[in-house]
């Protein structure tokens, strides 16, 4: 390879962080996920876990079994052989997610709209228009991390994070969007809630989607929300 496609740096004494420096962000995202899948499948001794995200992968090791230097050399070798043009999934699945948007002002939709100088209805339209690619599984509980809707500005995080964000809420922050599969504290503004149950502790992973799958949000009313409450999230 003529130019380095990643920067590898230690992240403590038991993890390496691999960050893509490819100009093409899509290619960088594919690269770190292909890397994660390769390392997973290879069962590299001493590697405990790989956490691929948007442009980076955190690779956690057991320092008793492998050194960060040796792992770094190995990863450089692996990355040279990866084709970052290959799609993550040949046949991405699509998940339809009905959302009761927060038009009653119970959550943060009005605040988000005000910060964008848009109406709440415009925010709903912009949020439910795109088909989103699941970029990675994040905190908490395997949230599908999505590129945010095409709002004019990044969405500010809440000045004071909520101690309890219930499961099923739909939120946005910065240029990102997600659904929360499990109740947890959180600082992202909430713009609606889905009646679907995302988390299934009997499955592995606990969530039905994987990076590369697609998500579409559809506005619904309170009655439909009630009738769908507890339905499992499944692909189309």
């Amino acid at each position: 390879m003529s130019e380095a496609s990643v920067v590898v740096s230690p992240s403590g004494n038991s993890a390496l962080r691999v960050v893509s420096v490819l100009a093409d962000r899509e290619a960088g995202w594919r690269l770190v996920h292909h890397l994660a899948r390769f390392v997973d499948a290879a069962h590299v001794p001493g590697v405990e876990c790989v956490i691929p995200t948007y442009d980076a992968a955190l690779i956690e090791i057991d320092p008793a079994e492998v050194s960060l230097d040796r792992l770094g050399d190995y990863l450089a070798h692996v990355i040279e052989g990866l084709d970052h043009d290959r799609p993550l999934t040949d046949t991405p699945r699509t998940f339809d997610v009905p959302v009761l948007y927060d038009l009653d002002g119970e959550l943060d939709l009005q605040t988000v709209a005000a910060a964008q100088s848009l109406s709440a209805e415009e925010i709903v339209r912009l949020h439910s228009e795109p088909t989103y690619v699941v970029r990675c599984l994040g905190a908490p509980g395997g949230s599908p991390m999505l590129d945010g809707p095409p709002f004019p500005n990044p969405v500010p995080r809440l000045a004071s994070p909520r101690a309890h964000v219930p499961q099923g809420v739909v939120s946005v922050a910065g240029r990102q969007a997600t659904i929360t599969p499990a109740a947890a504290p959180g600082g992202w503004p909430l713009i609606g809630r889905t009646p679907l149950t995302v988390l299934d502790l009997d499955a592995e992973p606990f969530v039905p989607y994987e990076p590369g799958d697609l998500i579409r949000f559809t506005p619904i009313g309170p009655d439909e929300y009630e009738s769908l409450l507890g339905t499992r999230m499944v692909a189309r």
Binding site: G12, N13, E48, L58, L68, L137, A139, G142, M145, P205
Partner: protein
């Protein structure tokens, strides 16, 4: 089929846990598990268990239980007053308990968390291969008085029939005195420009909002120079961050696996065990170490644990032989 039942009499704040859910972070789920990994490993080693066997993590408060079979236990971590039917017994050693005797661990001090292993461990539900509680997923949880745990194995008492003296005294690695927390430079240290060194200037005071997800502390705050949106990335356990507000945040094993804050420094794996023992209201000091020093320390810890495992194995083998020849009891 369980060999016996352990019944909690006084629960305090006790959880069944192990070394953690190592496959979890791949799926957005924190690793969790014993916060003081070294003490948990030692507790299991002392009773001849695999190091990852399920054991009790006791936080700050008193614990009391009874088992309906003979068991062998060991207590490590924070110092406490261990009694069997009211008689004081040593921590950091395998201790025999007869069926029906009350085991109590009280007055934890010098640390926040103690670990109690039982030879043969417990039959408990697993999630992704681990019994570690996860407060976000709602898996596992704090034991309540009256709760029962299925024991896998009875262990006949290891007592010296003639003198009822201690049969062994194992040299167990101790918790380091004083709270010094080693960190290596984080991957985003440049985001803090010249202010990163503030981390090492003065002690930090641990605040009461600290828990298994992270410790919050007040003290001189390094300042993030860079601005703008940071994409969520995987953050390591031990990440030192400066979120908005007036506190420093150090992530522990319950941390959300992705976050959007720059990582200033990362606590070494050995010092995460130190953090597990710091109580709110106590002060700690950060010390910068190189990656090489951190790696050397980790190796030294492992060598010490390996040596302990060998000694325990030798003691059990000798006691087994002794017991078979003098009393006919089978210990293992």
């Amino acid at each position: 089929m369980s060999a016996g039942i352990l019944t909690i009499v006084e629960a305090g704040s006790t959880h069944v846990t192990d070394l953690g859910r190592r496959r979890g972070p791949r799926y957005g789920v924190p690793v969790n598990g014993a916060l003081d990994q070294r003490s948990a490993r030692i507790a299991n080693i002392l009773v001849g268990n695999p190091e990852n066997a399920a054991l009790l993590e006791i936080t700050a408060l008193d614990l009391e239980f009874v088992a309906d079979i003979d068991i062998l236990i060991a207590v490590t971590g924070a110092d406490g007053h261990l009694t069997i039917d009211g008689v004081g017994r040593p921590s950091g050693q395998p201790v025999s308990v007869r069926a029906g005797e009350a085991v109590a661990l009280r007055q934890l001090q010098g640390g926040l968390r103690a670990y109690l292993s039982v030879r043969g461990s417990f039959d408990v539900p697993l999630l992704l291969g681990s019994c570690a509680p996860d407060s976000v997923l709602g898996f596992g949880g704090r034991l309540a008085a009256g709760a029962t745990l299925d024991l896998r194995q009875a262990t006949s008492p290891l007592f010296n029939d003639h003198f009822s003296a201690e049969l062994y005294s194992l040299d167990v690695p101790r918790i380091p005195a004083g709270f010094v927390v080693d960190v290596t430079d984080g991957p985003d240290i440049d985001d803090f420009a010249g202010t990163a060194d503030r981390l090492f200037e003065q002690p930090y005071l641990v605040t009461p909002t600290s828990n298994h997800i992270g410790l919050r502390m007040t003290g001189p705050l390094p300042e993030r120079i860079s601005r703008g949106e940071v994409l969520s990335r995987g953050v390591p356990v031990g990440a030192v961050e400066v979120p908005p507000g007036d506190e420093l945040l150090v992530l522990h094993r319950g941390r959300g696996v992705t976050a959007g804050y720059p990582v200033l420094a990362v606590v070494t794996s050995s010092s995460l065990d130190v953090l597990a023992q710091v109580r709110p209201g106590q002060r700690l000091r950060f010390r910068r170490v190189s990656s090489a020093e951190a790696a050397a320390r980790t190796r030294a810890d492992l060598v010490a644990l390996d040596a302990l495992r060998l000694r325990v194995g030798a003691v059990f083998a000798a006691l087994d032989a002794l017991s078979l020849s003098t009393t006919g009891r089978t210990l293992l």
